[in-house]
């Protein structure tokens, strides 16, 4: 067994031995992946996953390094980019990924991606034309 394999086994035992916790956070992440366009009700989800809302938040942060809300935003922005590349209008994208207002979507998009949704789409389209 290599040094790396030994380390994998050692770290697994120390950090990832609680299967129930892992199952809970992975279920939450999968739920967000499949319902990113909806409002996520953590209180309801924590009941379903048989834990408290704050414990669920702490667990998610512990295993993924970000909160469920941050993950939801990342997921929505990824999906936005995908829809914009396909040529969907900015307004359609905004509501299809679950943002309530055009301005909150555009501001967040610009902050995280570095371009407004319109600029991003134009850039993508020009790249596609030049290929």
């Amino acid at each position: 067994m290599t040094f790396y394999e030994t380390e994998i086994n050692r770290i697994k035992k120390i950090c990832f031995s609680n299967d129930k916790q892992l199952e809970t956070v992975i279920s939450l992440r999968n739920f967000i992946d499949n319902n990113f366009e909806k409002e996520i009700n953590l209180k309801f989800l924590s009941h379903t996953l048989l834990t408290s809302k704050y414990h669920l938040l702490r667990l998610f942060k512990r295993y993924y390094g970000i909160t469920p809300k941050q993950y939801l935003t990342i997921r929505r922005l990824e999906k936005s980019k995908e829809y914009l590349k396909k040529g969907m209008s900015v307004s359609e994208v905004c509501y299809n990924v679950g943002f309530n207002t055009h301005s909150s979507f555009s501001t967040l998009f610009k902050n995280k991606i570095g371009l407004t949704p319109t600029e991003f789409q134009k850039k993508q389209l020009s790249q596609n034309h030049s290929r």
């Binding site: 290599t2 790396y4 994998i8 892992l22």
Partner: protein
């Protein structure tokens, strides 16, 4: 300042190009002769050809410490870098069918699944899927 790509030291650029394109599925982006048989050789993901480039650099053959470092990592089984995939198990099966050798078979490690293969050019490379 922005990230344009990452470098991977390879023992043989011809073999690396063949492996990274024919087995892994990357696409050649730049191939510029530099000097003494060395090339500025980069590949990109087929589905993201404007994305980060992987520079297949001939450092181990031109700079002894690079060769020593690469060998030390390889001997310890430590991956030089990692690539994200949607499904580690499927990618593992696809690559095994292409006679790629794995040092670590698909393994769940908390909220990720990993596997490690030999790139035949002096490195182990890890593939990773977030669960």
């Amino acid at each position: 300042m922005k990230v344009q790509g990452i470098g991977i030291p390879v023992l043989d650029q011809d073999r690396a190009l063949k492996f990274y394109t024919e087995k892994l599925g990357f696409v050649k982006k730049h191939d510029v002769p530099v000097s003494e048989g060395n090339r500025w050789l980069t590949v990109v993901a087929k589905e993201d050809q404007e994305g980060p480039e992987v520079l297949l650099e001939p450092a181990p053959n031109n700079f002894e410490p690079a060769k020593i470092y690469q060998k030390a990592l390889k001997d310890a089984g430590i991956p030089y870098t990692q690539f994200n995939v949607n499904n580690v198990q499927e990618e593992y099966e696809r690559l095994v069918d292409l006679n790629v050798t794995f040092s670590v078979k698909p393994t769940v490690m908390g909220t990720v699944k990993i596997a490690v293969f030999d790139d035949t050019c002096g490195n182990y490379i890890q593939i990773i899927e977030t669960l």
